[in-house]
C-alpha cells in the first residue's frame, strides 16, 4: 500500500527532495539546522507550498490542500515546541484534537490516548502549562493521535528536553511503532533516531544526500559531512 510521496523543489530552502513512505514504516530525516528538515515537514503538513513538486497521499495529489484538510485526511503534525496550548487544560487540549468528531467517537479516542499515556489521566483538569517539557511533548503526541492519523509527523521532539526524558519519549514512540502507526520524524540526535527508524534520510544544504536503512546511513561518510558542515 502506497504511503506518502514527496517530490519537492524550492530554491530557497529545499531542492528536489523526494521520499516515499509505506504504511507502518518509521522514517527519520536527519540533518543539521538550516538543512531544510522543517521546510520538508511544513510542506507535508500544509504549512508551506512547495514551489515545485508534488505530494501524493495514498495516490491522491494533495499539494494544493490547506493544512486543516490534510489533518482530516489523516496527516497529523506535532510541531517543534510541542504544540500544546498551555493556557488550556490537558482535557481541553485532548478535546481539541478531536474537534470535528462526534462526541462519542471523541470520548472513545481520548480514552485510547489516555491508555497510552496514563500519567495524563491524573492531570486532566490541570492547565497544560503545569506539565513538564517532556510531559507536554507526550501530550502533543496524544493530542495528535486522537484524530487516528495515518501518518504522525514529529518535528524535533527531543529539542530542549533532558536526556533522560528523551529516553522515555523514544520508548513511547517505539510502542506506537509496534502498534503500526506510520511515523515521520525529524531529529538532530542521530543515535537515538537511527535506533528507532526503518529508513533514514539525510538532508544537507537543502538536498537529500543519503537514503537507506539505518545501518547503511550510519556508515555512510556523507552523514558525517552533513553534520560537521564541511562544504562540498
Amino acid at each position: 500500500m502506497q504511503g506518502l510521496v514527496v517530490r519537492y523543489g524550492r530554491l530557497v530552502a529545499v531542492r528536489g527532495v523526494s521520499l516515499t513512505m509505506a504504511s507502518g514504516e518509521t522514517h527519520v530525516i536527519l540533518g543539521r539546522n538550516g538543512a531544510g528538515k522543517s521546510s520538508v515537514l511544513g510542506a507535508i503538513a500544509g504549512l508551506a507550498r512547495p514551489a515545485e513538486g508534488r505530494i501524493r497521499w495514498h495516490g491522491e495529489d494533495i499539494t494544493a490542500w490547506p493544512a486543516h484538510r490534510r489533518v482530516a485526511a489523516g496527516i497529523a503534525l506535532v510541531p517543534e515546541g510541542r504544540g500544546v496550548f498551555v493556557t488550556l487544560t490537558v482535557a481541553e487540549n485532548l478535546r481539541l484534537g478531536g474537534f470535528g468528531l462526534p462526541a462519542a467517537t471523541r470520548r472513545e479516542r481520548v480514552e485510547e490516548a489516555l491508555a497510552l499515556f496514563p500519567f495524563l489521566r491524573e492531570r486532566l483538569a490541570a492547565p497544560a502549562g503545569t506539565l513538564s517539557g517532556g510531559q507536554q511533548q507526550m501530550l502533543g503526541v496524544a493530542r495528535a493521535l486522537i484524530g487516528r492519523p495515518r501518518l504522525l509527523v514529529l518535528d524535533e521532539p527531543s529539542l530542549g528536553l533532558a536526556p533522560v526524558i528523551v529516553d522515555e519519549f523514544y520508548g513511547q514512540l517505539a510502542r506506537l511503532r509496534e502498534r503500526g502507526v506510520t511515523i515521520l520524524l525529524v531529529e538532530q540526535h542521530v543515535e537515538r533516531a537511527l535506533r528507532l527508524a526503518d529508513v533514514a534520510h539525510v538532508l544537507n544544504l537543502g538536498e537529500l544526500v543519503v537514503s537507506g536503512t539505518p545501518d547503511e546511513v550510519a556508515r555512510d561518510p556523507r552523514l558525517e559531512i552533513a553534520y560537521l558542515g564541511v562544504k562540498p
Binding site: 543539521r32 539546522n33 538550516g34 513538564s132 517539557g133 517532556g134 530542549g160 528536553l161 533532558a162 536526556p163 533522560v164 526524558i165 528523551v166 529516553d167 543515535e191 553534520y227 560537521l228 558542515g229
Partner: protein, 550 residues
C-alpha cells in the same frame, strides 16, 4: 493641486502637523504610544497665551514658557507611563488628553470654555524656523548614544535593561522632551489663531497625531514628517476636489472625503504595516552615505586580541548563597549555593523546570531576590535593579535570543559598550568579529545563530566580570557549537567568570571547569565533569543513557 500651497492657513497647518508629529516621534521612539499629545499641546498653548496676553512677553520667552509648562505636566504622566505598558499606556495617555481638556474648560482663570484671545500673531515664518530647529535637535538626539538607548527600548525593553540601559529614566526623558516640543507647537498654534479654546485640543487631535507617525513610519525621523505632510496634503486636496472641475456626482465637500481617507488608511496598513517609510526603505536611500562611512570606520578597527580583563585568583567573582525563589506556591529554587571565580567556566545542568533559568534571572536581577544573598566581588547585589547589575559587571544573554532587531550589529554591540563604565574597554573591532556578522547588517535580518553571537558580543562588550549564558547553543550544529566553545574559552581567558546553562551535554561537559546540577530547584551534585558523568543521582535525574558515550 499645487496651488493648495498658496493658502497661508494650509501652509501653517502643514508645518504645525509636522512639528507635533515630531514631538510624538520622540515619545514613541521608546515604544510608548502616547495619545496624550493633544493634552500637552493644549497646556503649551494655554501657558504661552497666558504669558503673552496677561504679561506681555515676547516670542521666545513665550515659547520657552510653553515648553516648560508642557514638560511640567508631562512629568507625572511620564512616571505614570512607567508603571503601565502596552495598550494600558495608550489608554492612559488618551485619558490625559480628555482630562486636560475638561480641566481647562472649567478653569475660569484661563477663560473656561471661552479660552483666551488677543495673542500677538505669529505666522508661517516663525513656525518654519522652529520646525527646522526642532528637526535638527531631534536628529542630533537620535544619533546620540541616548537615541541609541531609546531605539533599543523600542525593540526590547527588558533586553535593554539587561544591556545596562536605565530604561525608566530614558522613557521619562522621552515623554517630557516630546511634550515640550508639542507644547511649543501648541503655543505657536494659539498665536496663529490669536485665540484658543479647549475643544480645539481634543481626542481627535491626539489620534491624528498618532496617525501621522504610524502611517509615516516610525523607524526614522523622516517617517512622521512625511506622514504628517502627506495626510495634511491629502485631506486638503480632497477638500478642494470640486475646484478641479470634477463631475458633480462626487461631492467632496461631503463626508465622502473622510471615507476615502479611511479607505486609504486601510490600504496603506495592508501594504505597509510598519508605515510608509520602513527602516529598510530609509536605509537603502541612505546606502551611498553609509558605504562612505563604513570605509572610514573599517580602517579604524584592527581586530587586536584584547588584554586580559581580570586575573584568575582565589577570590570569588560571584557568590550565590542560600538563594530561594517561589512563584506563588511553586518552589522554583531552594537553598542554592555556589561560587565562581574569575577565569572559570561553571556549567549549570538540569532538566527543564529544574530552576536553571530562574537562577539566572535572580542573579541578573530580572527576578527579585526573595531569599539568600548574592555577592559580586564581595559587594552585595541583592537590591539592585537589572541594569545596575549590568553596569557593575554582571552580563547575561537570554534563552530566546533577544537582540535589538531594528539596530545594526554595530549598534547592538556599541550599546553594550556603554555599560562598561570605568572598566577597561574591549576593542570594538574584536567584538564585531566575535559576532561573525557584518557590522552594518540589521540584527533582525541575521540567522538565529548569528543573532545569538551578536547577543553574546553585546553582553561581553560591557567588560563583565561575570557572564551568564542561557542556552547559547540552541539551534546550532556541531561546527557552530565548536566555534561557540572556542569563544567561551577565549572569554574565560580574558578572566571572565562564565556561568553556562545548556542542554547540549557534550558542550557543557566539554568546556566546563566545574558542573553544578539542579533538580527541582535543589543542587543535587557539584564537581568536575568526569565525576558528574559518573554520578548516579545525576544519571537518574538528567543524563539518562547519554554521557556514557564520548
Amino acid at each position: 493641486m499645487i496651488d493648495v500651497f498658496q493658502n497661508d492657513a494650509f501652509r501653517f497647518f502643514l508645518l504645525f502637523n509636522m512639528l507635533v508629529a515630531l514631538g510624538m516621534y520622540v515619545v514613541y521612539s521608546t515604544g510608548q504610544l502616547s495619545l496624550g499629545q493633544a493634552g500637552f499641546a493644549a497646556v503649551g498653548a494655554y501657558a504661552g497665551s497666558y504669558v503673552d496676553v496677561k504679561l506681555g512677553w515676547p516670542l521666545v520667552p513665550v515659547l520657552l514658557a510653553a515648553a516648560a509648562a508642557a514638560a511640567l505636566v508631562a512629568i507625572p504622566v511620564a512616571f505614570g507611563a512607567n508603571r503601565v505598558r502596552g495598550l494600558y499606556l495608550v489608554m492612559g495617555t488618551l485619558a490625559v488628553t480628555e482630562v486636560v481638556r475638561v480641566s481647562l474648560s472649567n478653569l475660569d482663570a484661563v477663560g473656561g470654555i471661552q479660552g483666551i484671545h488677543g495673542m500677538e500673531p505669529s505666522g508661517v515664518l516663525e513656525m518654519a524656523v522652529v520646525l527646522a530647529l526642532a528637526i535638527g535637535g531631534v536628529a542630533w538626539l537620535m544619533a546620540s548614544p541616548l537615541g541609541l538607548e531609546m531605539r533599543a527600548i523600542f525593540d526590547d525593553e527588558d533586553a535593554a535593561a539587561a544591556a545596562g540601559v536605565s530604561t525608566r529614566t530614558v522613557k521619562i526623558i522621552a515623554v517630557v522632551a516630546g511634550a515640550a516640543l508639542t507644547g511649543i507647537a501648541g503655543a505657536l498654534f494659539a498665536r496663529y489663531l490669536s485665540f484658543i479654546r479647549p475643544d480645539l485640543f481634543g481626542i481627535g487631535l491626539s489620534f491624528s497625531i498618532a496617525l501621522y507617525v504610524l502611517i509615516g513610519g516610525v523607524h526614522s525621523l523622516a517617517g512622521p514628517l512625511v506622514g504628517a505632510f502627506l495626510i495634511t496634503y491629502l485631506l486638503e486636496v480632497l477638500n478642494r476636489m470640486q475646484q478641479f472641475g470634477l463631475p458633480p456626482v462626487l461631492d467632496f465637500a461631503s463626508p465622502w472625503r473622510f471615507a476615502i481617507y479611511g479607505g486609504l488608511v486601510m490600504a496603506v496598513m495592508a501594504v505597509r504595516p510598519e508605515g510608509l517609510l520602513t527602516r529598510g526603505a530609509v536605509r537603502s536611500l541612505l546606502a551611498p552615505l553609509r558605504r562612505r562611512v563604513r570605509r572610514l570606520r573599517a580602517s579604524a578597527h584592527a581586530a587586536a586580541t584584547p588584554a586580559r580583563l581580570w586575573t584568575a585568583g582565589d577570590s570569588a567573582a560571584l557568590e550565590v548563597v542560600g538563594v530561594g525563589h517561589r512563584f506563588g506556591g511553586l518552589v522554583a529554587l531552594e537553598d542554592v549555593a555556589f561560587t565562581i571565580r574569575p577565569a572559570e567556566i561553571v556549567a549549570l545542568l538540569g532538566a527543564n523546570g529544574a530552576g536553571k533559568t530562574t537562577l539566572i534571572n535572580v542573579v541578573a536581577g530580572r527576578l527579585p531576590l526573595q531569599r539568600g544573598s548574592l555577592r559580586l566581588s564581595g559587594a552585595s547585589l541583592g537590591l539592585l535593579p537589572a541594569h545596575r547589575r549590568t553596569r557593575l559587571g554582571v552580563s547575561r544573554t537570554f534563552q530566546s535570543v533577544r537582540v535589538f532587531g531594528h539596530l545594526t550589529v554595530g549598534e547592538n554591540v556599541r550599546l553594550g559598550l556603554r555599560a562598561a563604565r570605568d572598566r577597561a574597554r574591549l576593542p570594538l573591532g574584536w567584538l564585531i568579529e566575535l559576532t561573525g556578522a557584518p557590522p552594518e547588517a540589521l540584527a533582525r535580518d541575521l540567522t538565529l545563530v548569528s543573532q545569538r553571537r551578536v547577543e553574546i558580543a553585546r553582553a561581553v562588550a560591557s567588560s563583565p566580570s561575570v557572564l551568564l549564558l542561557d542556552e547559547p547553543s540552541a539551534g546550532m550544529n556541531e561546527r557552530e557549537r565548536g566555534e561557540l566553545a572556542q569563544i567561551i574559552r577565549s572569554l574565560r581567558d580574558l578572566g571572565i567568570a562564565v556561568v553556562l546553562v545548556d542542554h547540549n551535554v557534550d558542550l557543557a561537559l566539554g568546556i566546563a571547569d566545574r558542573i553544578v546540577v539542579l533538580d527541582f530547584g535543589l543542587v543535587i551534585a557539584e564537581g568536575v565533569p568526569d565525576a558528574i558523568r559518573r554520578d548516579e543521582r545525576v544519571r537518574a535525574a538528567y543524563l539518562g543513557t547519554m554521557g556514557r558515550s564520548a
